[in-house]
Amino acid sequence: MATFIKDIGFPRFLMSLLLIVILVTAIVVGIPIGMVLTDLVQRVGMYGVIVLAMVPSIQSGTGPNFAVTIGIVLGLLAATTAIEFNLVGMWAFLFAIAMALPLSIIVGLLYGKLLNACKGAEMTISTYTGFSIVQLMCIAWIVIPFNSQIMRWPIGKGLKTTFTLESTIYKVLDNFLYFKIGEVEIPTGLLLFFFAACLLVYAFTQSKMGTAIQLGGMNNKFAVASGVDIDRGRLVANVISTYLGAVGIIVYSQSFGFIQLYTAPLMMAFPAVAAVLIGGATASRAKVSHVIIGVILFQGVLTSSMPVLNEIIPFGSVAEISRMVIQNGIILYALTKVDGGQ
C-alpha cells in the first residue's frame, strides 16, 4: 500500500480518495448522480485546455505558467473582436482561435524574453506579470472602440463586465455530436477538442524541438553541452503556453455561456496550476497525462462537493464559502507537495 501511494504520488492518491468519498456521499444523500457526472464531464472539457497550457512552460524549465492570464486576456480580446465583427456560431469560434494565434506569438515572445532576462525567479515574475496584464486590460476594455450592442454598456463608455454569448458562440463545441447516456450528458465536441489539443501537445513533446525543450528544462547545462539554444526553447514553450491559454478561455467561455472581462481572469491561473500539480506534475516535470488526470480530480472534487455540501449544510452561502476554501486549500496543498507521480 505504501509503495502504491508513493508510486501514484500522495496528492493524487488523496484527491482520488476524496473524489470517491464525495461521489459515494452524493449517492447516499440522494443527489441525482447523473447531474453530478454531467457537471463533472463538462467542467473537465471547459478547463482542460487552460490546464494544458502548463505543460510547455513547466517542461521548458520556466515552471508553472502563472502568467497564463496573459493568454486568457488575449483569448478574450480575440473573442470580443469576433463578436464585434458580428460573427456567430462556429465561424465566430474559429475566427477567435485563429486571431488569438498572432497575438499569442507577439505577446508570448515578449513575455518569454522577460523570463529569460530573470532566470531563477520565474514563478514570482510570472505571477505578477499575470496580475499586471489583467489590470492593464481593465483600461483597455473601457477605451476599446467596440460598438457591438451585445458587449457595450447601454450608456457610457466601454464593455460590460459580463455579457452573454447566447446569440454568438454559446455551446458551439458542446453541442457538436452531443448525446446522452442515461442521465449523463456528453458534450462530445468539447471533449474531442480537448483531447485533440492534448494529442497535439503530446506530439510536440515527442518532436525534436519538444525533446530539446524538455531536456533543457530538466538539465540546463546538459542541453547547452548538446548544442541546444535554451533561451529559444523557452521562448517557443511560452508562446505555445500563451496560445493554449487563449484558446482555453475561448473554449471555456463558449461552454460557460458568458464572457467575463475586467478582473475576472485575475485568479484563473491558480486552479489551472493546482490541477496540473495534483495530476502528478512537479514544478519541473509535467506530462500530458498529468493534465488529464489532474483536471478530472480537481474539477471532480470541486463540482461534486458543492451539491453534497448544499445537501448536508443547507443554510445560506455556506456552500459558496466552502467552495472557496476547498479550491484554495487544494491549490495551497498542491503547491506545497510538488513531488511524486512521475
Partner: protein
Amino acid sequence: MDKEYLLEMKGITKSYYGNTVLKNVDLSIKPGEIHCLMGENGAGKSTLMNILFGMNVIHSTGGFEGEIFFDGEKRDVRSSFDAMNLGIGMVHQEFMLIPDYSITENIKLNRELTKDNFVSRLFGPRLKTVEYAKMGRDARKALDKVDMNIDEWIRVAGLPVGYMQFIEIAREIDKTGIKFLVFDEPTAVLTESEASNLLRIMRKLADSGIAILFITHRLDEVIEISDNITVLRDGELVAKKKTSETTSREIAELMVGRKIELSGKEKKDIDRTKDPILELKDFKVKMPGEEVKGINLKLYEGEILGIGGLAGLGKLGISNGIMGLYPTSGDIILRGEKITNPLTKEMLEKRIAFVSEDRKEVGLVIDASIELNTVFTAMNINGEYLKDYKFFTLRDKKRIKERAEQMIKDLDIRCTNSKQMVGNLSGGNQQKVCIARALTQNPEIILVSEPTRGIDIGAKKIVLDLLKKLNKDYNMTIIMTSSELNELRGISDRIAIVTEGKIAGILQPEDSDANFGLLMAGKSIEEDRGDRDGNIH
C-alpha cells in the same frame, strides 16, 4: 613518548565505507619547524588534516585508527574547537573573511573582546559591550607580526587577495597560545612576490617557536623553506626526508610513483608529418577554477593525447574551451579550418564529441531514461533518430530503443532495461551512458574528461579499454584529460602536462616518474628531452 615533538600522529588509518584512504601514516613535527606535507590530489593530505582538526566528516564515518599526541600528551580531538583550544590553527586556501567587516573585526570574529555593562549584567553575557579600542590594538600587534602596515580599520572588501591571505594568518596568530599552524596551499592564489613575502613570514613565525605544517604543490617553495618533508602517495607514507638531504627531483619521483603497470597499450604509429587534425594556437579559456592561459597544442589523427596536471591548474579548461562551453580567445584550427570563439553546436556538428568531467551536471539528465540520454545529442545535432511526417517530425521510438540496447550490450551498462532513469544507475554505468551518448553522435574526435572519476576499479578498466578499442578499431582521435597520471600513461600516445594554465611540457608515457613529477610541480626538466614536435614552453 618523545618530548621533543610538538605534534605526533601515529599509525593513522582511515577508511570511508571500506575504501581505505590512509594506511598507517605517521607525522611528527617539532616546535619551530617548518614541515612540508606533499602528495598528489587524492594522496590523503586533506583526510589527514580533517583528522587532526576532528572534523565531523571523520567522526560521522566511523572515526579513525591511530593516536594523536600534542604537547606530549595523548589527545582526543573531536571538533575544530578542541583543536583551537590546543593551539592548533589553520590558514585556509579559500579565504573565510566577511567582506563588509573591517580587518580588525575579521581578525577578532567570534572572539570579540567584551566588557560588562548594565544590560549585560541583567540579561547575560550575550549583550556585553564590544571593546573596539582594545581589539584594534590586538589586531595591530598581529598585523605587525606579519609585516603588514595597513590600517586595521579598513574594510576587507576590495583588498587584493594577497592581503586577505595575510589577514587570515594574522587572525590565526592573534589567537592566544597558538603553537601549531597549518598552511593549506597558501601560495596557490598569490603572485610570486606575495608568495615570497609569505614564505618570509612563515620563517619568521617558525623562528618565534610556532610549528608550521605547509601543504603545497610547488617544489621550489618546499626546498627553499622547509626543514623536513613527508610524502604521501595513495594514502601511504612513502618517505620522510630532511630537506637538506634531498632534491626536488627525488621528491617529484616519490610523489608520482608508479602504481599500475603500463600494459595493453601497444605503440601506435602516428603520422606526425601530416597536418594535425586539430591545433590550438595561443588558446585561452575563461573557465572559473580551471583557467587556460594561452596554450599551443597539436593533435594528430588517430592518436590518444593525454592531458594531465594537478586540479585547478587549467587542464579541464582545454576540452571545455574547445567545445565552446566557456569564453575563449585564440584560434582552433580543425582540419585546416580556422575557428575563433567556437559555438557548442558548431563544434558538435563538426563531429567532435565531449564527455564532460561533470557527469551529473553536464554529462547526463538524471531524470531521463538511458534511451533519451544516449540519443539526444545525435538527435539534436544530426537530426537522427527522428521519424519524418512531412510537416513535423517525431522521435523514432523503435530506433532509439535499438540504439540504446545496442549500447547497453556493447558497453556492458548494468541496468534493468533501456527505459531506466540514469539517476538510478551506479557511477560507472552512468559514465558508460555518457560515453554511449558521445559515440551515438558518430564523432571523429572525442574529448573525454576525467572518465574514471568516482567509479570503481572494474568500471575503470572497462572505460579505459573501451577508449583504447575505439582508438584502435575505428582510428578515433581522443583527447583524454585526467588527474590520474597512471591512467594517462597506460592509454596515451603522448601526455601534455598542464600547470598554471599553460603546457609545462609534453612527455612520452614511458618517461621517468621524476620528469612527470617535476613538470606537475611547475619545474622545468633539466635535460631537455622535449617532445618531437617542438611544443615545449
